[in-house]
Amino acid sequence: MAKSKLFWPIMVLVFILVFNLFFDPSFFTVEIRNGRFTGSLIDILNRGAPLMLISIGMTLVIATKGIDLGVGSVIAMSGAVGAMTVTGSPEGSLTPLFLAIVLALGVSVLTGVWNGVLVSRIGVQPIVATLILMVAGRGVAQLITNGQITTVYYEPYKFIGGGYLLMLPLSIFIVAFVFLIALYLTRKTSIGLFIESVGANPSASRLSGINSKNIILMVYMFSGLCAGIGGLILSSNVASADGNNAGLWYELDAILAVVIGGTSLMGGRFFLTGTIIGALIIQSLTTTIYSIGVPAETNLVVKAVVVLIVCLLQSPEFRNKVFGAFTRKGIKDTKDKGVTLS
């Protein structure tokens, strides 16, 4: 049990949730109010939905030894496109809603194609390739919204992020849907294996007949799509589009969630369930910090410390130096001696 990659993330999540119980005895209660489930747990799931979605996409990107820094900007762009499409539409028809969804997701997938082509065809390092979108994407988002915070008055649009289905927030269903599809595609078909082998050794997998370039292109497209859905949820939640602040820092949170979930930044094996738990840990941490009255700004410091600890625990050098004295020596000596920066 303790050997499982999921053991420690789950323990941390449980610890954070139980910690909350001391401050708020009603933390675990879920009540039915106005025909809907309400409670802190539901709240964490609902608010964490965009992060979970983006982290799912990020997991696959990181599994191919890449990284997608552009997701924050894609959130802003997708939200901007969605909000601008429905502004001023009549309440009665649902056509603008679907048009907004299609356009926003189309733009997001396009950004994924952009990143994917840069990384797989031109051979730019992922950090740098996606950095371009991170810088320029926010500019484009502001271009779409004319630099203003656009408010949406069209009611159906608010349903994406604020609607309820079967007494639960709709966003939870969206996350579950995307998660199950990703899980099915990567675990029941060979795509998952392809992604892992591309991440572990791109040239070896090319020699064994895997089209690494298309696999890489595909994961960036998927990451763009996930960020696009997240952007729609976020913008519909606040019924507005803000090119400057929508999705700010999300790329960092998503990377953090993936790393906590046990996927190594070196590429190779990935753990989608771990990622979901990682995203939930981050969301519960945020909720906890707000609810126990510590200044919200501590959040950043806490996240920094958490990410460093997790990275150190993943580092073979650290394990050898710190735990090496207690365990059999030299098990991991031969591993990961190469140059780190890919």
Binding site: L131, L308, E317
Partner: protein, 327 residues
């Protein structure tokens, strides 16, 4: 005829120079008043802090690493300086060394984590970015305005240069550039940085002090970031946790546009200065144009970055083909 042959390493730098001259010529013909000494000097005055950061970043990228924490270190420095001067009423002569020490220590910590535990520079400095911004929020969430004779002097004094002027910050930036050019191109440490960026394993096999160099690079970057933070504080006369948000990207863009290869091992410190000036001239053109909004700056920087990265890839691929055809 060897002197006429261009090294592939110099191509990006030449392209950058040509671009700068072209943009300047474009601005001069299009807008009246663009071609004045003061407009040119303003490029330095407004971007003095970015020049300093870019110099530190050049060393990091030359070594094949990356430092995402510089923007936050600037914010932290401005916060520390503001709170120590205004709230603790300390003399600037004590405050300035403390500020520089803070940045250098953050750099030292990052360098140690990267070297000793073989962590990726990207993730370590990402954590450093969170940490520094979080710490500056812990000092205060509000803006702290600075009202101190020394800071006022640094902010407002003008050094006449013909019929125009520069600020003290520009002098600081230029001193940093000169020192960095010397360290980068004429010192043992500089050679080690290039060797490390070229191929780390070869550097180890050659018996170079890889660990020491690596840690030192991040200390330099941290030091430059905090010095830039001080210059930024002179410029803004306030401390605020959101200062210089996203500046790390501008710095990386400046270094790349300045002709340093992102894979490390090739580039020039002086190139990064030209890179910063190009970013500055984009902003100036957008201001002169008047009708364009400021977000066009971001799009223009992104487009330029793309252009130069693709350009670099083409050069690297072509030089590889050449090498393999020779041997």
């Amino acid at each position: 005829m060897k002197s006429l042959k261009l090294d592939y390493r110099q191509l990006p730098l030449l392209a950058t120079f040509a671009l700068f001259i072209m943009m300047y010529a474009f601005g001069s013909t299009r807008y009246t008043g663009f071609l004045s000494t003061q407009v040119f000097l303003n490029l330095f005055i407004d971007n003095a802090f970015l020049i300093i950061v870019a110099v530190g970043m050049t060393f990091v990228i030359l070594s094949g690493g990356i430092d995402l924490s510089v923007g936050s270190v600037i914010a932290l420095t401005s916060m520390v300086a503001a709170s120590l001067v205004m709230n603790a009423q300390l003399s600037p002569w004590i405050v300035i060394p403390i500020c520089l020490l803070v940045g250098s220590l953050i750099g030292l910590g990052q360098g140690c984590l990267i070297h000793f535990f073989n962590l990726q520079p990207f993730i370590v400095t990402l954590a450093g970015m969170f940490l520094a911004r979080g710490l500056s929020y812990l000092i205060s969430v509000e803006t702290i305005a600075i009202n101190n004779p020394f800071f006022d002097f640094m902010a407002s004094s003008r050094i006449p240069l013909g019929d125009s002027f520069i600020s003290i910050s520009v002098v600081i930036a230029l001193v940093v550039v000169v020192l960095a050019v010397f360290v980068g191109h004429y010192s043992k440490f500089g050679r080690n940085v290039y060797a490390l960026g070229g191929n780390e394993q070869s550097a180890v096999l050659m018996g170079l002090p890889v660990g020491k160099t690596k840690i030192m690079i991040y200390v330099i970057s941290g030091f430059c970031a905090s010095l830039a933070g001080l210059v930024f504080t002179f410029y803004m006369l306030s401390g605020y946790g959101l200062h210089a948000n996203g500046l790390e990207l501008d710095a990386i863009a400046a270094v790349v546009i300045g002709g340093t290869l992102l894979t490390g091992g090739a580039g020039y410190v002086a190139g990064s200065v030209v890179g910063v000036l190009i970013l500055g001239i984009i902003q100036t053109i957008i201001v002169f144009e008047g009708t364009l909004s400021s977000w066009w700056t971001k799009i223009a920087i992104g487009a330029l970055l793309l252009l130069f990265i693709v350009f670099q890839r083409v050069i690297v691929i072509r030089s590889k083909v050449k090498k393999s055809s020779v041997t």
